[in-house]
């Protein structure tokens, strides 16, 4: 068919992983270009001059950036296995929850992982409040998309993997099975779906990477006068 699809990604980026999943769910052939984010290629900088980040989807030579924008583009260009619902109200709801997952859930869980002392406690409180909303949204559904994995699932999917990695590193229970039974079982179902399961980055490498990020954060916070522990 002569379609050229390239995905600029890194080995660990959860944002790029959303695009991997979307392409695989739709059965789209693509070439993965792995970037070293400490040494960005000229091509990356040319395709995303504004943010200089991955993921970048390049379709027939034209770049699309920002993972939500890319997901919508993929859904509009390749109509099989739709990620977003058809009904405009349901689409608005999916976009709302995806934004909530990104702006609130991800930020609060990341803070609960990376911060110390009082800041960490506050982040855990915020994370718990945010997860309560998601738990409520899961009622009667296997996935956020219903019977099939959809847009919101792909947005939150990082949690099904990074959640347990964060918990292993800092010993904090982020998604407690008792408090959030629906979310907990969503994490299992999502992680075990073949396309998802086959594309997780290597767990041991992830643990090393995030432990190093945490160590660096602790080092920089204890070198400042406002540390509390």
């Amino acid at each position: 068919m002569g379609e050229e699809v390239k995905l600029f990604r890194s080995w660990s980026s959860p944002f790029a992983l959303r695009i991997v999943w979307a392409l695989e769910i739709k059965g789209i052939e693509y070439e993965a270009v792995f970037e070293d984010l400490s040494n960005k290629s000229p091509l990356l900088l040319q395709y995303n001059p504004v943010h200089k980040k991955i993921p970048i989807l390049v379709h027939n030579g034209r770049p699309i950036v920002e993972s939500f924008v890319i997901l919508e583009y993929i859904d509009e260009t390749w109509k099989q296995a739709p990620l977003l619902p058809e009904d405009p109200y349901e689409r608005a709801m999916a976009r709302f929850w995806a934004k909530f997952c990104e702006d609130k859930v991800l930020i609060s869980i990341w803070s609960a992982f990376i911060k110390q002392g009082k800041e960490q406690e506050e982040a855990m409180v915020a994370a718990t409040e945010n997860l309560k909303f998601l738990e409520k949204e899961m009622k009667g559904k296997k996935f956020f998309g219903g019977e099939r994995i959809g847009y919101v699932d792909l947005t939150l999917g990082w949690l099904a993997n990074l959640g347990s990695i964060f918990e292993e590193i800092v010993g904090l229970k982020i998604v407690d099975e008792e408090k959030f039974p629906l979310l907990y079982s969503w994490m299992q179902d999502f992680a075990e779906a073949p396309i998802i399961r086959d594309n997780w980055p290597p767990r041991d490498k992830m643990i090393v990477k995030f432990q190093a990020l945490l160590d660096a954060a602790i080092a920089s916070s204890s070198s400042s006068s406002s540390s509390s522990k």
């Binding site: 504004v50 920002e66 939500f68 924008v69 919508e72 109200y89 976009r95 709302f96 909530f100």
Partner: protein, 219 residues
């Protein structure tokens, strides 16, 4: 059956104004309810329990929140008139990218100029001008960000223009000097009834901001 449309907002909000512009573009009648953010109505808390923020659009009893999500909803439901997003997926992606850029950057950077207590005004001003210049570059020689027609990115950005006078006053700079093409674009947009009837008066915005600064102890 007639559609029932209600908009919950506050008059100075550039986010609420986006929804007003979109509704006006589509020629839609709606009920506007002014909220008091110090005393949020039960309706607001019920319709946006997650964020408890405005704007909220309520269409036949069902709420939608987040201004650009609301604008996209309006565009999809009332798609027979004044389309805001183009039909081509790549053009749509470009429009979504730039609207996202406005969302990610302008409000938070602008806050440093107006509400800053810690002396971030200079950094804020520099970053703000950089953002506007980038957007001006994207506009190029087109009449609108949507090309020949007023579109999605125009909606996302034009409502900030009634706050320009306030940013200029507190940042001590002139947006017209820095970005003349962008200011020409704002004037072009204001010639449209949908925009002029939806944007607040810049001097009233300045008074509003002054009041908030006094309350914050930075005036």
């Amino acid at each position: 059956m007639a559609d029932e449309i209600v908009l919950l907002s506050i008059w100075p909000s550039m986010f609420g104004m986006r929804v007003r512009v979109a509704l006006a573009e589509k020629g839609l009648k709606y009920e506007y309810k002014e909220e008091d953010l110090q005393n949020k109505s039960p309706l607001l808390l019920m319709m946006n329990p997650v964020h408890k923020k405005i704007p909220v659009l309520i269409h036949n009893g069902k709420p939608i929140s987040e201004s650009m999500i609301i604008v996209e909803y309006i565009d999809e439901v009332w798609n027979h008139k004044s389309p805001l997003l183009p039909t081509d997926p790549y053009q749509r992606a470009q429009a979504r990218f730039w609207a996202d850029y406005v969302d990610k950057k302008l409000y938070d950077i602008g806050k440093k100029i107006i509400w800053s207590i810690k002396g971030e005004e200079e950094t804020g001003k520099k970053e703000f001008i950089e953002c506007l210049k980038l957007l001006e570059g994207e506009l190029g020689d087109n009449p609108y960000f949507g090309g020949e027609n007023f579109g999605f990115v125009d909606v996302s950005l034009v409502t900030f223009s009634c706050w320009f006078h306030t940013y200029e006053s507190y940042g001590n700079f002139s947006i017209e000097t820095e970005c003349p093409k962008l200011v020409a674009w704002t004037k072009r947009c204001l010639e449209k009834e949908s925009v002029s009837s939806s944007l607040a008066d810049p001097h009233k915005i300045h008074n509003f901001a002054s009041g908030v600064r006094k309350r914050l102890g930075i005036e």
